[in-house]
């Protein structure tokens, strides 16, 4: 199974995503330069975190115009699994592959810390290995992770069960105190209508080895490995 890790100028979690998929999961992984126009036959696409184009103008706003994004959109339209982590989530929102927007954190400061998120839905390729209501301990590191969308969009996302992760307390309760950035309805991650494109602010790739304080990120990355294996077998 092959992971494509898209590299934009200013991506800085590209090596982390590569390390987690290649060296921890033991899968194939390849960097795809943003100017490239094919995905090298990858089965999964990761848009990693970082500050693409310095986050100048607006987070993710310039990266969506990179040539490779055309291929990513085609890949997603064909049902291929795509995950955007942190800045990658911001890029997916700017590209219109996911709905909503990410605003400055509630108290305006960049925040790097471990948080807890609850798995809300398990019928996506990135959560199928988890259990509904399962609490994952994952790091966040962002200044603009405050998820926001209009009331109609929110209603549609909730009705279609497109909210995939919510910030919560260690025992799984969504509270204001457990919501680090002020996200609407504690939303930490969403998927598209086809459920194959997922974006989230926490960093599963930073939580794949016990030496780093948590292995809960494996739930997300191993999910897609088993989802594709099952699809291949079927």
């Amino acid at each position: 199974m092959k992971f494509a890790v898209i590299e934009f100028p200013g991506s800085n979690c590209d090596h982390d995503a590569y390390h987690a998929t290649k060296h921890v999961l033991g899968q194939e992984a390849e960097f795809i330069w943003h100017k490239d126009t094919d995905l090298a036959g990858a089965d999964v696409v990761i848009l990693p975190g970082g500050f693409s184009y310095g986050d100048y103008l607006r987070t993710g706003a310039i990266a969506r115009f990179s040539p490779v994004m055309t291929r990513v959109r085609e890949f997603a339209d064909a049902g291929g699994p795509v995950i955007g982590i942190c800045n990658g989530f911001q890029v997916l929102l700017e590209a219109g592959l996911l709905e909503g927007a990410l605003l400055r954190n509630r108290r305006l400061k960049f925040l790097c810390q471990h948080v807890h998120v609850r798995v809300e839905q398990t019928d996506t390729p990135f959560t199928c290995g988890g259990a509904e209501g399962q609490v994952l301990k994952l790091p966040i590191a962002h200044g603009e992770g405050n998820y926001h969308a209009g009331p109609e969009t929110i209603a549609a996302l909730e009705a279609n069960r497109q909210v995939i992760f919510r910030y919560c307390s260690p025992d799984g309760v969504t509270t204001e105190a457990a919501n680090p950035n002020g996200s609407h309805a504690s939303i930490a991650g969403v998927c598209n209508a086809g459920r194959n494109v997922v974006g989230l602010m926490p960093h599963p790739e930073r939580a794949c080895e016990s030496a780093l304080g948590s292995v809960d990120g494996l739930v997300v990355l191993e999910s897609v490995v088993s989802a594709l294996a099952a699809k291949g077998a079927a």
């Binding site: 200013g10 800085n12 310095g54 960049f110 925040l111 790097c112 790739e205 030496a211 304080g213």
Partner: protein, 743 residues
Amino acid sequence: MDQSTIDAHGLSADEYQRLLEILGREPTITELGIFSVMWSEHCSYKSSRLHLRRLPTEGPRVVQGPGENAGAVDIGDGLTAVFKIESHNHPSFIEPYQGAATGVGGIIRDIFTMGARPIALLNSLRFGALEDPATRHLVDGVVAGIAGYGNSIGIPTVGGEVAFEPSYAGNPLVNVFCLGVAEADKLAMGLASGAGNPVYYVGAKTGRDGIHGATMASAEFDENSADSRPAVQVGDPFMEKLLLEACLEVMKTDALVGIQDMGAAGLTCSTCEMGARGDVGIEIDVSLVPQRETGMTPYEIMLSESQERMLLVAKRGREAEVEQVFEKWDLHAVRIGEVTGDGRLRIRDHVEVVADIPNRQLADRAPLYDRPTTRPAYLEAAQQLDLAACKAPVDLPRTWLDLLGAPVIASKHWVYRQYDHMVRTNTVALPGLGAGVVRVKGTDRALAFSVDGNGRYCYLDPAEGGRLAVAEAARNVACAGAVPIGATNCLNFGNPERPEIMWQFAQAVDGIAEACRALEIPITGGNVSLYNETDGEAIYPTPVLGVVGVIDDASQVLTRLFPAEGLDIVLLGDPAGALGGSEYLKVAHGMARGRPAALDLDRERALQQVLVEAARGRLICSAHDCAEGGFAVTLAECCVEGGGVGARVELAEPAEADDRFALVCALFGEAPSRVVVSVASGQRDRLLAHARELSVPATVIGQTGGDRLAISVAGEVVADIGLDEAEQAWMGGLTRHFEHVAA
């Protein structure tokens, strides 16, 4: 050249005479500017060089000592750790966000210029009292600036220190440390060679920002300094990220001869130094330099300190390979000149030669001063500690909590949560738990680092303060389980033209040198920041040491936290503490007096050996150095923020039990070479035997467990606080000052 122009460039009469001798004629204005920045204190170290020679710089692991962009030590597996610390004090006072951000940018460039991939940042920050709103503004800006730059470029900020003392009110200290890893045989150097080889400029365009930044850093502040804002540069971390990746990529091509970043004194310093190191000349045409503003003069282009710029010398015939890599990253490498065989730094503006200077003389004949030194008058009185007029505390638990909430001691989570400290997935000890520790992927090893200084100790005894700074940084690294293998220093002092300041400097260097020798930790580079004065008031003399250690097995890393209930608590080292220069005196009595407890270097060395070997043998479960606030604060820090395990300990009766301050001294007195460790019962005797072999006192003082922290002396409980109270005081001590902007 008229006298007022010479004066405006900060050159003394003697220095100008020397310039005339070197040139054999009157200088052009561009030449005057070049000499002025190259011979500024900031670039030439003219007041400090003589003293820095006393620092030990050699050792079996040293791959690169002082003189290059950064030092390097061997960490095994064919790898080297490349690291340096640098100050950005003056710019950070004038414009805190950009001053701190560009400080981070500068030190990162020093590291990747050496061919190393930067993997960790630390910082050492000192401000005035937090009660002053101006201080809070500075703290907020400096922290945001460090975060803004480091987070964006994707290098984790994994540790550091933050201190507050009124003496830094007009002169905050912003010292930043960066470490990278390189293959030992692939270090890049900042030298030019081979006449005819092309000289490239790459990175941001040159503007008028930062002109005379180096001169600014070489003068005292006065009330007009806040108007110096145009001399502070603006950082662009995205540009630097591109430069970092492109430079590391181009170094793999083997088409480079040398590379240097344009830091202080910009194009001037980089051309001069690269030529001087390779004993060649460099000729460039400033009209080819990419410019951000119109109408810039050669003088301005040569002196600009615009950020994110690099100078490269490529091999002739390999230009296409170099240019191609930069194009990939949307950077444009511009050929601005070439290496020459005549040893001259020649600057042209189109065809007109605007500067023509013998390169080596510019670099090597920089002034060197043996400035007079005098023991400062204040010391006599300041070193006397008379507590007769002081009231001994009646409520020790209250004092304990007050100290835990003192901003110097309290949790710095408000600061480090703003830093991305996990990017690159190497951080195996989170900030606030002791030394910063990152693993080295592809090996079993980890590297640990600590940056430490104590200005108050140095103010009261500069030589002892220097020794203590080395010992503390090394001890912190050893507490993580790492063997200290190298150090870098940042020497922050006042105006060296004042003999009292120069005495402090010389003494501190002696102290550092002595401790580094005894602990076998070579200094591989660093930075000197002088003229840290405002309106004639100098900062506390503040050497900051950055020590790097290596752990062979990353799974053996220790932190300060007691990991479980039912462990034995052992105090390694002599239990006695002293109140001279202590945080207790400052917090409880508003005093900075007395002498810091003296360091016994043999004991310190043995203690660190015990720690490293105990970690290696998995004898101990945690280790934490007794620093500010003494034993009681250290014990509490082993429990708060994440530990959730209390402790009950029993101390021996102090020797002078009838002294009113005997208990205070036992609880809050400070002394070096003391570490609190936790140990499983089954390993306890092995640890004690091991300590005994190395003549390190080791006392079993209690056990972990419960939800309280209790200290007894001679069978009687003298201080008992709830873990939740301790946690609240410690977590809120710094944050409460920032509630209006709390993260």
